[in-house]
């Protein structure tokens, strides 16, 4: 790839590759069967990867958005679940980085660098795509604090998170402009965490329902300005969609690597199946698409690093990468034939993992609405 990485970024890529090979890939199947892996979380923390994007003064690694994407991309080559965990964690912690007061940054960001887990709560059970229609509310309390009621669904990292960034209506009449963001610790009184969702894939990342029953928060739980929560959330999703592009590229490569070894070894009609044109054409399309995913992902990450608006590009990256990843994993499963249908050969797990990439952080349909509308409005 001709994308220019700095020398430090190349070294971090090497380090994460080694880490993924040794620590992440061998655990992916276990996570699929058993859920979130605290041991892996500990290793990610020890290796300094949890806070790689945070400034050194917070104990972070001093990386930029391109470096963060390198980490997610490389980890996804070993486990899509683990990469999704990091994506969701950074998405939430970054809201404090971008919008928090100095006091909030000083309090929470060093914890993020030391491995505390963050989760971002926007979606509710009654509707995911229509994000402005959330029903959870927060009203001021007599003591100057806040009282939260309602609930959330499909919150990645819920159940394992130490802190939640929750979006709720502070002015129910004001639509999207009546939504604000709040920092909620896991042990807050009135926070009920439901059981883990029994998901199709991405089972190494935890997902629960949350319920808020007169949940009391102090005055300084408000993140950023009142009524700005929806805008913050949409900006955060722009970043998260780049991460999905990175997960799709990494997961697709993981699947293709397994299919390649298989195609070169599996003999049929007297030669390895990779010698047949029908199989070769599949690899041609997969390789070209993976390269396109990588270029789109890193190009958009570079835009983010340079402070450019990247809403359209992030949506395009996620739409293309997510849809193609599912198809690539299905093709790889097909190349493995009956073995592809067996859990022993891993690719069936990738098929289940990949599907999330077409749903989470904006469904294909929502992204098409966003992209189509934007493109048609351009002159």
């Amino acid at each position: 790839m001709m994308f220019q990485f700095t020398e430090e970024q190349k070294m971090i890529r090497e380090m994460v590759r080694e880490f993924t090979k040794k620590e992440v890939e061998p655990r992916d199947k276990w996570m699929d069967e058993n859920g979130f892996d605290y041991e892996l979380h500990k290793k990610l923390t020890q290796a300094g990867l949890m806070g790689i994007h945070l400034e050194e003064k917070y104990g972070g690694g001093g990386g930029d958005p391109v470096t963060s994407i390198i980490v997610i991309h490389e980890i996804a080559k070993g486990s899509a679940s683990a990469a999704l965990f990091l994506d969701a964690n950074w998405l939430a912690a970054d809201l404090i980085l971008y919008h928090g007061t100095e006091a909030q940054k000083d309090k929470y960001l060093p914890q993020a660098a030391q491995g505390k887990i963050f989760a971002f709560g926007l979606t509710e059970a009654s509707g995911g795509s229509d994000a402005a229609a959330i029903k959870s509310t927060v009203v001021p309390a007599a003591d100057g604090g806040w009282v939260m009621n309602g609930g959330k669904a499909w919150i990645t990292n819920s159940g394992v998170a130490d802190y939640y960034i929750i979006l709720a209506k502070t002015d129910p009449e004001a639509g999207a402009k009546g939504i604000s963001a709040f920092i909620v610790p896991k042990d807050a009184e009135g926070l009920a965490i439901g059981k883990f969702e029994d998901k199709m894939g991405m089972r190494g990342s935890a997902t629960c329902e949350l319920a808020f029953n007169n949940l009391r928060l102090p005055a300084d739980a408000l993140l950023g300005q009142l009524g700005m929560g929806f805008k913050y959330a949409m900006q955060a999703l722009d970043g998260a969609r780049i991460s999905i592009g990175a997960i799709a590229a990494g997961l697709s490569e993981h699947a293709m690597n397994i299919a390649r070894s298989y195609a070169n070894e599996r003999v049929c009609f007297g030669k390895p199946i990779g010698k047949f044109q029908g199989i070769q054409f599949k690899f041609a399309d997969m390789a070209a698409e993976i390269r396109a995913m990588e270029l789109m992902t890193y190009d958009t990450a570079k835009m983010k690093a340079e402070g450019l608006r990247h809403t359209l590009e992030a949506a395009e990256t996620k739409l293309f990468s997510g849809t193609r990843c599912t198809q690539i994993c299905l093709e790889c499963q097909q190349i493995l034939g009956g073995n592809g249908y067996s859990k022993e050969f891993h690719v069936e797990r990738f098929v289940r993992d990949a599907k999330l990439l077409e749903i989470g952080e904006g469904t294909n349909e929502i992204l098409r609405m966003l992209i189509g509308g934007t493109v048609l409005a351009q002159k």
Binding site: E8, M11, I12, M15, G48, E56, G61, G62, G63, T67
Partner: protein
């Protein structure tokens, strides 16, 4: 305390194959890595530094791209690096390599401890460390499984064929370490960011005051006669069942049947 740690760039042996016709290593598409046991040496050096203070200098002899393993050593936490790179050094056997490495140690001077991996995964001679100790005229401890510094002595546990022994050597000394000594750390992102800002020296034979006649091919008395991959015999695995006596009898019967006893 001044520690020198020696690292070598080697092909990633997990996917290296010998060309069956020429016997040469087929390096095409094979990635280069830090010799795995040298990562243990770096880790041992860093742990001693963290416990007793001081500096760690990572040293490698090799072509310019060998700088990559030195960068990794810096990213793990070493303070500075020296790359010994010169066409004159090319084609060196263990003696000529040991000579150049010893010259680098002399140039740095004032060292307390030199640490090597017990052997490199490509040559597996385990000679270079001991040769450097001989050139420098300092005591050496090979195959260390533990290592510490106590009152001016290097104290180590050595693995031997039938157990282990605790030995000590007066500093300055040279130690080669086994893989069992520790689990090498990952280079953390923050240390990677700092690594490229650390001092990185590159020295040729002139700067090392090394005699070209003792370097590279002229300085190498040993020659490689032939490289070959030992043939692997594929034999079936036989499993014996039953109690110990039955299994022992089955085993002996099999050995007899094959005229092995």
């Amino acid at each position: 305390m001044k520690i020198l740690v020696f690292v070598k760039q080697v092909p990633d042996t997990t996917d290296v194959k010998l060309d069956p016709k020429t016997g040469n290593l087929n390096r095409e598409g094979v990635e280069s890595i830090m010799n795995p046991l040298d990562a243990n040496a770096v880790e041992a050096a860093l742990r001693l530094k963290e416990k007793h203070g001081g500096t760690v200098t990572a040293i490698s002899m090799g072509p310019p791209q060998a700088e990559d393993v030195l960068k990794k050593a810096l990213a793990m936490g070493c303070d500075e690096s020296a790359l010994l790179s010169d066409r004159v050094f090319g084609g060196a056997d263990t003696l000529a390599t040991g000579y150049v490495l010893a010259k680098a140690a002399e140039k740095i001077g004032d060292y307390d401890l030199l640490i090597f991996g017990r052997h490199a995964s490509d040559g597996e001679t385990a000679q270079t460390g001991p040769i450097v100790a001989a050139f420098l005229g300092i005591p050496q401890i090979t195959l260390a499984e533990t290592l510490d510094i106590e009152d001016g002595w290097a104290v180590a546990t050595r693995s031997t064929e039938d157990g282990s022994e605790k030995v000590r050597a007066k500093l300055p000394a040279l130690v080669t370490v086994c893989g069992e000594i520790n689990e090498p750390r990952y280079a953390t992102p923050i240390n990677i960011m700092k690594a490229l800002k650390k001092p990185r020296m590159v020295w040729n034979h002139g700067e090392l005051d090394a005699d070209p006649a003792k370097c590279g091919i002229p300085g190498s008395p040993s020659v490689t006669k032939r490289l070959f991959e030992p043939e692997h015999e594929h034999v079936d695995t036989v499993l014996f069942n039953g109690d110990e006596e039955t299994m022992a009898k089955q085993f002996v019967d099999m050995l007899e049947a094959q005229h092995l006893i």
